[in-house]
Amino acid sequence: MIRRVLTVLGVLLVGFSAACAAPTAPGGAAGADGTAMVLADGYEPESLHPLLGYGVEGASKFYDGLLAHDADRRLQPALASALPTTAADGLSVTVPLRAGVTFHDGSAFDADDVVATYRALLDPAFASSVRSDWVTLAAVEKLDAQTVRFDLAGPDAAFAHRLTLGIVPAEAVTAPAPAEESPLSAQPVGTGPYTLAQWRRGESMELTANPSYWGGAPAVERITIVFAVDDNTRAQRLRSGEFDGTVLPPALAQTFEGSEYTVRDHPSADYRTVTLPTANPITADPAIRMALNHAVDRQGMIDALFAGRGSPASNPIPEVLSEYSEPAAQFTFDRTRAGQILDAAGWVAGPDGTRVRDGVPARFTLMYPATDTIRRDLAQGFTSDARAVGIDVALEGLGWEAIEPRMGADALVLGGGSPFDPDLVSYPLLHSSYAGDGFNNPASYVNPAVDAGLDAARRALDPAERVAAVKQWQRDYAAAPGFVFLTFLDHSYVARDEWDGYEQVVDPHTHGTTWGPWWNVEDWTPRA
């Protein structure tokens, strides 16, 4: 504080006459030797604490989980020394730990840190914001200094994907205080490839390579991440050569085609869907639900709104999970068929074009978060497609506070997604046990056949059996849909092509410079 005040006073005393001197060269762009990199991000993390969701899907620069995903979404050992072994009854998972790893503060990593991290995660006293993702985890035990065992409440085939949570030093989670009060929020202490050198809130973050990283010291030694919320500002500053890369909306990113930057479009598992609430008599009607799924022109929306980047969605299983994807469960754009379905169910066109049955018009409200332009555009596209088959949709752009109490009765543009395992996102979204539970299954979709498939997939320990179960529930869902899935968004990035080591990855719902091209930046090397 005092040093900062002195700096400021120094600046003040000498006055700002020197300020009008000739502008210095842009301080940003990569060092000549490629050991420094400047990225721009539209999103600034509020906290760097793993228990508050930072890097929970892996790819955190400061932390390592027990496991991590590779470019092909396969799990690889990170702080574990080998992949975990699951007991025959599926009720416990044993993980051997890597030896000789140290935290950034120099302390040694062992089983105590793993146990302390996961116990803090489960303990409400720490108020972890991601605790709900570990509903199947019952307890964590230390077997010896290099081995831990996770006990599960029931078999969970996807559980290993939950082991990407960043491990913090045991000393950091001794006092049972809410995680927001922990110094780790602003000063991460992990085992990861980078340490945080400086974080100027609202402006930038500077990462320095961890020379004693167990995976080898990163060749890109300094990464500066500048936070610039506005997409156009970021694009302008990129054009001036200030950054080595950034994330941009697809259409804006394509304008960098043919420049000194390379445009990289990443497929993602990030879906956008329209919920059809069961409590609303119109959206609960099976004919309306089925008709809407055939009435929307998904590819048309992708072409018009995202410059063709993205892929149509019929359910939460993205194309990239191809081994689980069921072709027979995809909806086709067929307006005639939608009309026939509505006719057959007794919805007849009224004088104003809106269909009516028993005096009740086919009309409902669709809500979207007002500040999210992508969801607003999709909502408008959905509305015009619905009107084309005689269903009248009223739009309302609202804040989440206003949306939350109404989402049981009014439709909502919802987003989410995970490329790693079909269970992670589909189960809370579609299973009846989550009906009306927070934002998980807000429209209360309940379908016993889908429930059975989701449960069978979760319990199945044999991969082939799992695939069969996942495909089965997709067919059951397609027979009685409760959402209109619209698209999986592509994430677009623009990057200077001066390093080797880029591997395309499928992004989860979260994106920005942690994911995208830079998810494995610790393995990149400057091109000679």
């Binding site: 300020a19 301080g27 100027r200 206003a402 809370p428």
Partner: protein, 327 residues
């Protein structure tokens, strides 16, 4: 100790005693407003994780953070924390409030002090010249611009300044404390300070210029100035030595009353220029119903206003024996 210093001492003591209840009322007021707002703080705590959280976990966290407690219970908890020196944890910055303030206050002070200097210098020079050459071209232009600019909010000025000096001419950086990734060196900060400080200063100038001009015109008509003129003193001496000092006393008082405008101006300027000061934190904290942060900032701003007007009154009382110091 003279009677005069004792009088001024009493003025200070009385004002400070008055400031304490004002600050408490402001803090409690902000607290009640935050409690009445429709935003749910648990959303801010969870961020995007709220979309996968179960109701049971949300409820457990609400209970853990004390969000279910009554407004007055929460207020009491906060007040007793403040008395022990704990300002609480800022939910929107995920840091102790004290640390957020320590990180940001210096940058705000730098901006506001330089902005104030710009305003004072501009106002004195332009106001004096305008009054001196009353009715001349310069006077007409300054008065015209002054009146026109009274209605222009600082953020409009900021956007125009960015459009002209950064995007158009390319002389100065658009925003931020330094260039991307550059350390906060003197050169870097100074270059990035120019535009926001000028905008803040200029936006405060119109009232000050018009005021200096007006009171100098008044002073030029006073007897002692006419006397100086009659003695054949040079015009420069008459204006700067005889008229200006008389005109400056009300100017100091005016400066004190401009402090609130300066504070709100700083909020807008910092937001437009991504200046990492305390004012920018107000916006973030307000959107997040970050009560501990909001309360601390409101109290600070209130204290700045009270202190600003107190300093102005003390300065006037010290400079002019005719002014009574009994409030």
């Amino acid at each position: 100790m003279t009677t005069r210093t004792r009088e001024i001492g009493w003025l200070v003591a009385r004002r400070l005693a008055f400031a304490v209840p004002v600050v408490v009322v402001v803090a409690v007021g902000v607290f009640l407003l935050a409690a009445a707002s429709p935003f749910d703080p648990v959303y801010q705590y969870y961020g995007v994780d709220v979309f996968t959280a179960t109701e049971a976990d949300l409820a457990a966290t609400r209970a853990r953070l004390g969000l279910d407690d009554g407004v007055f219970q929460q207020l009491g908890r906060w007040l007793s924390g403040v008395l022990t020196g704990d300002l609480g944890t800022s939910r929107s910055f995920r840091q102790p409030v004290g640390r957020v303030i320590a990180e940001r206050l210096p940058w705000t002070l730098l901006l506001v002090v330089v902005g104030l200097l710009v305003a004072v210098v501009l106002a004195l020079v332009a106001g004096t010249v305008a009054a001196w050459r009353q009715g001349g071209a310069f006077d007409r232009v300054v008065t015209g611009i002054g009146h026109a600019m009274e209605g222009i909010p600082p953020f409009v000025l900021a956007l125009v300044a960015i459009a002209v000096f950064s995007l158009g001419l390319g002389w100065l950086p658009v925003a931020g404390l330094t260039d991307a990734g550059a350390p906060a060196t003197f050169d870097q900060v100074a270059r990035h300070l120019v535009l926001p400080a000028l905008v803040l200063g200029v936006s405060q100038t119109p009232w000050l210029v018009l005021h200096v001009r007006g009171s100098l015109l008044g002073a030029l008509g006073e007897d002692h100035v006419s006397g100086a003129r009659a003695r054949g003193l040079p015009e420069r001496t008459v204006v700067l030595r005889h008229a200006l000092p008389t005109a400056l006393l009300p100017f100091v008082t005016l400066l004190g009353t401009r402090i609130p405008e300066l504070v709100t101006g700083a909020v807008l300027v910092e937001t437009v220029f991504s200046w990492p000061g305390l004012a920018e934190a107000v916006v973030t904290a307000a959107l997040a119903v970050d009560f501990p942060m909001l309360a601390a900032i409101s109290v600070l701003a209130t204290a700045a206003v009270l202190l600003g007007s107190l300093l102005a009154d003390v300065a006037v009382a010290l400079a002019d024996p005719r002014v009574t110091a009994d409030g």
